[in-house]
Amino acid sequence: MAEAKRKPRGPSLADRIDAAMKRTAAAAAERPDDTREVPRGRLAAHSRRDFLLWSAGVLATAATGWWMLPERAKRTWFPALNDKLDTLAARVGLTRMRREASLNRVLTFDDDVAEALYSKHRTVRTYDRPDPRPLRNNYHGRTPGPEILPAWRLKLSGLASGRTEQLAIGDITSRFPRRDMNTRLVCVEGWSHVVAWGGVRFADLLAAFPPAPGARWAAMRSDVSLNGRGEPEPYYVSIDLETARHPQALLATHHGGARLTLAHGAPLRLVAPMKLGLKNIKAITHIAYTAEEPADYWNERGYSRYDGL
């Protein structure tokens, strides 16, 4: 029997890997200096030009940076120069008003990015169990007292029916199915907390009491909210209906398996885990559906108006 004919074969796999690695190493290897001969005069002229441009850039950056600083920082950092520099900047049009307008445009841009990323079909992460620590009461002012509860009604307006509805808490809990979820409440300050929420879907309320055609926003308001001295100071947020229709946007009645406490928004609060905590308005008294974007308490104080997480 003849000797088995060996087929001529290409390089083995190991050889090929070896060659590929060598090629990669050669491609990544540092190249010799890219040198060239330049007349000294031309080099000096280029150098002069580049240093002048660089200095102009440093000056422009320093001026812009100073203009953008908040008042408190300017007073702390440049106590002697603050007023003079402010006057000088105002002469060339760098006023405080213009700064606010520019920074608010940044917020709007960031909000547009957030809105582009949002989808009402994407569910927010849920957790097996809530954080064991008690949830922090972050009421901006004082916490409303129990006297708000007996007369509490949710007033709905801007409805397709043209009517204004008044719902007691029992009307809401008996009419719509209860939903429970453990989601993370994220505060604009940076802290967060996984909370066990229970309540009804905002979407169910919207289906039962449909907004007037053309409505795109819910203006949500709490008339029982108080300021730091305990005086009435309504709290209001704007919620886009895209968010309100999200299956995880709840009108919550329960927290940690029990009825909401006054500290956390009894008897009814918004829980929208795709929004910062400040949109999750407590003790809602009014929901009005509008075509135009309604006012938002914290937006009026320099924060985002979309607050998408």
Binding site: P39, R40, G41, R122, V188
Partner: protein
């Protein structure tokens, strides 16, 4: 010239003119003289390098003002520090040392000493957030420009880690530790040989910084949009872990600036100039004598 009478004043003027002409010729000759230069940094790399400086400073300053609102690193509440913020303690400890406030009395409030100096001060959250987003978008843009500059100019090759790096890094650490003692003793202390644009320590640092920049951006987005980018939040385990990663990246990026500036100053004018003009008269194999 056939003038027979030359006054001393005219003679002096003529001599000055001749000297000026000679100097001009000499200058022209010197200017025309070719100099060999190496191209070190492309325009995009230089631009993005310098734009990074105010952006990084701005991000740290505004980031600390955001951190103030809900500190991550905390101890049990104490009087005057109800949130147990370690940065408040550090500020209080530093204030008397830096002459910022007399240690004797409670008249001067040193609670926010650190935040007032390294940051925008307390209760500046709305301002800090708006500025932070502005700087963050510019930072991402600038980082992208830097990468494009590195790729197009081929500069990335000088940053790639090498097998020889650990040994060379040890040699460099030994060298840096010995610089000052040897200078004081007026003894020669030769720089270890370097096989490229950077030494192993520089290569390690310049390779790591862009990666940290990427990590700081990713952890920032994980905190900014945990609900719309849940995969990113999970990459950092959870929201709180992303905050810690973001803080740690900030600390390292900020800490990098100090030795970077010191070493560039120590390395000399040519190194600083090359980041502005792009070229260097130090050619490979000839520098670091």
């Amino acid at each position: 010239m056939s003038t027979s009478t030359v006054t001393p004043a005219t003679a002096r003027a003529n001599a000055r003119a001749a000297a000026r002409a000679a100097a001009r010729v000499a200058r022209l000759a010197r200017d025309a003289e070719p100099v060999r230069v190496a191209s070190k940094h492309t325009l995009l790399v230089r631009l993005s390098h310098w734009i990074h400086v105010p952006l990084l400073v701005g991000l740290i300053v505004t980031g600390l003002a955001i951190y103030w609102a809900a500190p991550v690193f905390r101890h049990a509440p104490t009087p005057g520090n109800p949130r147990g913020d370690y940065l408040v303690d550090i500020g209080r400890a530093l204030a008397p040392l830096m002459g910022g406030a007399p240690a004797r009395s409670g008249a001067v409030d040193t609670r926010f000493w650190l935040y007032d100096r390294l940051s925008l001060g307390p209760a500046q959250l709305a301002n800090a957030l708006r500025l932070h987003w502005l700087f963050a978008y510019l930072y991402m843009l600038c980082g992208a420009l830097y990468v494009v500059g590195l790729v197009r100019g081929g500069g990335w090759r000088a940053l790639m880690p090498r097998v020889s790096d650990p040994a060379e890094a040890l040699a460099m650490i030994r060298y840096y530790l010995g610089v000052v003692p040897h200078a004081l003793a007026r003894k020669p202390w030769p720089h270890p040989p370097i096989g490229g644009k950077y030494n192993a320590l520089q290569r390690g640092a310049y390779f790591t910084m862009p990666l940290l920049g990427l990590l700081v951006v990713l952890s920032g987005w994980a905190m900014h949009h945990p609900a719309t980018l849940p995969w990113l939040e999970r990459l950092f385990v959870n929201y709180d872990a992303a905050r810690i990663v973001h803080f740690a990246c900030m600390a390292v990026l900020g800490a990098f600036m100090l030795p970077h500036v010191i070493l560039v100053a120590a390395d000399g004018w040519d190194t600083f100039r090359s980041m502005i003009t792009g070229w260097s008269t130090r050619l490979k194999g000839t520098h670091h004598g």
